[in-house]
């Protein structure tokens, strides 16, 4: 999934470091923001692409300025491939990859990774699962050894499965403390309906409970295949060195026939629905939105520009200008399109004190009507384009970002020359396009509205 948004890279130590504006980093950084990438003549992508005999696509970007190697593997299987009654299967599988292999126990894996100061992370998403390795060059063999071991020989021990099951259920329970989690959960459910994108990636206690070890083993053997994966490697490694590592650690990865199944697209029909969740809070946590677009929708770039102007452009956006800067109603207000492979959603989010909820929702709708009803100004269009095209260099300014980026452009079939094409895609967008996509993708009547708040104090009119 991609999000069209600005990200503000900030960290918070012990809750004592405050930023002027912090979009929820954990939410945004999960995703590759391919949309915000663009090329310049100075800094073009320089990645090699190979398809191995087992079908694995290998992408390699060499850079020897720092003795580190970043690896990103995308396995094209995620939430979308799960049966409804076993929601959370892809996530549970990814969590268990590091919990035991044929020759290593859970603690052995973490001990070996921690000892070399590396990280080996796994994560399931709507469309795919990723396994990432960040390691010093000097430890690359150990890193690849562990990486290939968890990928090719996971055992999914029953005891670890039970432990992880309880942990995930515990985290889900704890997350119910977060108003934003409650709002997001309700919003996804309404917008995507029965489609897998509408579920929590972690699943639900009742679905997590019924997942059996066999389900996990089967999911792994069906999807964790070289002919269903993309491997990207960036950093201090020559092609020759990469070949040697591939031969030593991944040669035994054998292809199988993939079961092609229709993944199904979510219903794009917009239906009005208001969900109120009552909780003893000082703020109303508000999400308003509707079904959006898939990543391959030709309107993607027009939507990127429109959303930047509307609510994705941080302090350059209309929502921020009006709701925060002028009215002082919220610290954070934003909008984004979550564009998955098979569909997507659009949402506007903010938090404001309970008593201001009606005013804030009214202002959101007024702003939405504004962008639907009138052309944007020349200045807005040109500023949005110059941000979206000009920020490319920053999007590829670390080895980790490069590894993730080239993997995701392969997944979305954007081509390794995407960086050269991207400015043209953005610059081709016209004011008419913006008006058209705003009308098409922003609902001002048939929207889903979720408000988690002290409902008595909020006294919603909606």
């Amino acid at each position: 999934m991609e999000k069209i948004n600005l990200t503000y890279a900030t960290d918070r130590l012990n809750g004592v470091l405050f930023n002027r504006y912090q979009v929820f980093v954990s939410v945004i950084f999960m995703l590759c923001t391919v949309c915000c990438l663009l090329s310049t003549n100075v800094f073009a992508l320089d990645a090699k692409r190979n398809v191995l005999s087992n079908g694995l696509v290998v992408l390699h970007s060499e850079n020897h300025s720092l003795p580190v190697v970043m690896v990103t593997l995308i396995v094209k299987a995620g939430q979308i491939d799960e049966p409804k009654e076993k929601a959370g299967l892809a996530n549970l599988l990814s969590e268990l990859l590091t919990e035991g292999t044929e020759k290593r126990k859970s603690k052995d894996i973490s001990e070996e990774i921690d000892f070399i100061g590396a990280s080996l992370d796994t994560s399931a998403g709507g469309d795919y699962t990723t396994v990432t390795l960040s390691v010093l060059k000097k430890d690359i063999r150990k890193g690849f050894d562990l990486f290939s071991d968890i990928l090719l020989h996971p055992m999914f021990p029953q005891a670890e499965l039970e432990r992880k099951r309880e942990q995930i259920k515990g985290f889900l329970k704890q997350r119910e403390e977060e108003p934003s989690f409650l709002a997001e959960r309700a919003f996804k459910k309404e917008v995507f309906g029965e489609h897998p994108y509408g579920r929590l990636i972690e699943g639900y206690p009742e679905t997590i409970d019924v997942i059996k070890r066999d389900d996990i083993v089967k999911f792994h053997s069906s999807y964790f295949l070289p002919n269903n994966s993309i491997l990207s490697v960036a950093g201090d490694l020559t092609s020759h060195e990469l070949d040697a590592l591939m031969n030593e650690y991944l040669a035994e990865w054998k292809p199988h026939g993939l079961v092609k199944k229709d993944r199904g697209r979510p219903d794009e029909k917009k239906i009005k629905k208001v969900i109120k969740i009552d909780k003893d809070l000082t703020q109303a946590n508000i999400i308003l939105g509707n079904p959006g677009i898939s990543r391959d929708n030709p309107d993607y770039y027009a939507v990127a520009v429109m959303n930047y102007i509307f609510g994705g452009g941080g302090f350059s956006s209309r929502l921020m200008h009006s709701i925060r800067e002028k009215m002082g109603l919220a610290y954070d207000v934003h909008s984004f399109f979550a564009a998955y492979k098979e569909g997507g959603s659009f949402q506007i989010g903010l938090q404001t004190k309970n008593e201001s909820a009606n005013t804030a929702i009214g202002e959101i709708l007024k702003q939405a009507e504004g962008i639907i009803g009138e052309y944007v100004s020349d200045e807005e269009l040109s500023d949005a384009k110059s941000y979206l095209t000009g920020s490319f260099k920053r999007r590829l300014d670390t080895t980790r970002k490069i590894a993730d980026f080239i993997a995701s452009i392969e997944f979305y079939n954007l081509g390794l020359d995407y960086d050269k094409k991207y400015p043209d895609y953005i610059n081709a967008v016209t004011k008419d396009d913006l008006l058209r996509v705003a009308k098409k993708y922003l609902a001002t009547e048939n929207f889903v509205l979720v408000v988690v708040a002290n409902q008595k104090k909020a006294g919603l009119k909606y």
């Binding site: 503000y8 960290d11 130590l13 809750g15 004592v16 470091l17 405050f18 930023n19 002027r20 310049t40 850079n63 300025s65 720092l66 003795p67 580190v68 603690k107 990774i113 921690d114 000892f115 070399i116 100061g117 590396a118 990280s119 010093l136 432990r163 309880e166 515990g170 329970k173 704890q174 119910e176 403390e177 977060e178 108003p179 109120k276 969740i277 009552d278 003893d280 809070l281 000082t282 452009g313 302090f315 350059s316 200008h321 800067e325 002028k326 009215m327 002082g328 109603l329 919220a330 610290y331 954070d332 938090q351 004190k353 040109s382 500023d383 000009g390 920020s391 920053r394 300014d397 980790r400």
Partner: protein, 440 residues
């Protein structure tokens, strides 16, 4: 997960110079302002940062949150650029900007394509001297900060407990207060308070510029001198904050509110860098929670299954002594008292017996690796130089690394014995009350 946060904390404190010697250039302007430039030509981007030596620590009583509110106001415009256009200018040049406030400092940064790096020089020099601070804007931004406080604290049970614990651990030192400020005090901050604070602390002699990226140092300095050297610099008359008296008995706070799982925080007073004990305390932190293989996760989460997360956290990079923390969330259905006892058991264990050589080496390897990895980002590099500058001098980084390398297993046990004592502890427990109701 908490252990991840520890690694992130280390990303801030470890620096490249000794191993992959970046070429660090240091300059001093006539008005006393220090400038540090690191040329890093890996990617065509650069960051400009300006760090002011003012934070929570300098705030007068009754006005907590002033440094942070002023930080917000710094984006509201100057006599030259008008209200709220600074960020827009940066963004339309393909850049991003932001700022942060801590107990000891306030820092602003821009990250831009390197051919636009002269832009932030002008913007930062301008707002150091020409901030508007319009009264109406102050009122509006105060509301924004109050919303920020609601978001981060009022409606977040764990952060609320954190605030309670810190307030109980300190009796007189300003670190007692939250950086964002208490609600009633944020509300009491007026335009005039901010103006005099700005005039006092936002001066060249009280700030450091850090530039890292694809730049030419000579060209940069020409531009920096042109914009900053003529700015007047009054000496800042800093008052020493009160010294926190030694704690002589456990303090305990409880917080009862709507929440799902009980949560515990333990906080012990500890010294700050460059106290000789801080190196061993850093290694101790990683031995306790530097990844899933380490003690707290293995014991509380993996073996005993009584917690869903457990971690230790310590940052010595403060101007005055601060705290060493333990955090843990009880697993559903588990008693927080058992979680507390399990944490105490880990504390007693490390006080009785030295950690293994492998554990010490693992912690040191993690530090070494993280400081190489952090060089991947120009932003993180600049953050690190800034952090050490706030403590006196970026060259202290070398001292820090030397200190870490010398730590022995015995040192780790000794600092645990010295600081992780009951009488030096503040314990906080979150007790969840009622459940969530939903209406559709």
């Amino acid at each position: 997960m908490k252990y991840v946060r520890i690694i992130i904390a280390f990303l801030f404190i470890l620096i490249p110079i000794t191993v992959y010697g970046s070429d660090i250039k240091e300059y001093k302007l006539k008005n006393g302002m220090k400038v540090i430039i690191v040329e890093e030509h890996k990617a065509p981007v650069a960051t400009f940062q300006i760090w002011y030596r003012v934070g929570l620590r300098e705030e007068p009583a009754g006005k907590s949150g002033m440094s942070h509110l002023l930080e917000h106001m710094m984006f509201k415009g100057t006599s030259r650029y008008g209200p709220s256009v600074l960020t827009k200018i940066v963004q339309k040049n393909g850049g991003t900007d932001n700022a942060h406030t801590t107990k000891d400092h306030t820092a602003y940064f821009e990250i831009v394509p390197s051919d636009r790096i002269m832009l932030p020089v002008e913007l930062e020099a301008d707002r150091m001297n020409n901030l508007i601070l319009d009264s109406k804007d102050v009122l509006s931004e105060r509301s924004v900060v109050m919303e920020e406080r609601r978001l981060r604290y009022e409606d977040d049970p764990q952060n609320s407990l954190f605030e309670e614990v810190v307030a109980a651990a300190f009796k007189v030192h300003p670190y007692q207060r939250p950086v964002i400020g208490w609600m009633s005090e944020i509300k009491s901050i007026e335009r005039e308070d901010l103006y005099s604070y700005y005039k006092t602390y936002y001066s060249p002699g009280n700030a450091v510029i850090i530039i890292v990226g694809d730049v030419n140092a000579d060209e940069m300095m020409k531009k920096v001198r042109e914009h900053f050297e003529a700015l007047p610099s009054e000496p800042v008359d800093k008052q020493m904050p009160s010294v926190e008296p030694e704690q002589k008995g456990e303090r305990r706070v409880t917080l009862k509110r709507e929440a799902e799982l009980p949560f515990i925080i333990l906080a012990y007073h500890t010294p700050n860098f460059p106290h000789e004990d801080n190196y061993a305390l850093d290694v101790l932190t990683l031995i306790l929670s530097g990844g899933k293989s380490t003690r707290l996760y293995q014991s509380l989460v993996y073996e005993k299954k009584i917690a869903i997360s457990a971690s230790a956290d310590y940052s010595s990079f403060n101007i005055d002594p601060y705290l060493f923390y333990f955090f843990a969330s009880a697993a559903p259905g588990k008693d927080i008292k058992d979680v507390e006892e399990a944490l105490f058991a880990e504390v007693e264990k490390i006080k009785k017996e030295q950690p293994s050589e492998r554990e010490v080496q693992k912690a040191k390897n993690q530090i070494e690796a993280s400081f190489i990895m952090e060089q991947d980002s120009i932003y993180m590099q600049a953050m690190k130089y800034g952090m050490f500058e706030m403590l006196g001098d970026w060259r202290l980084i070398d001292k820090y690394l030397e200190g870490i390398r010398k730590v022995t297993a015995e040192d780790v046990m000794n600092v645990a014995r010295k600081y992780l004592k009951e009488e030096n502890r503040t314990a906080g427990i979150l007790i969840p009350t009622k459940k969530v109701d939903s209406i559709q």
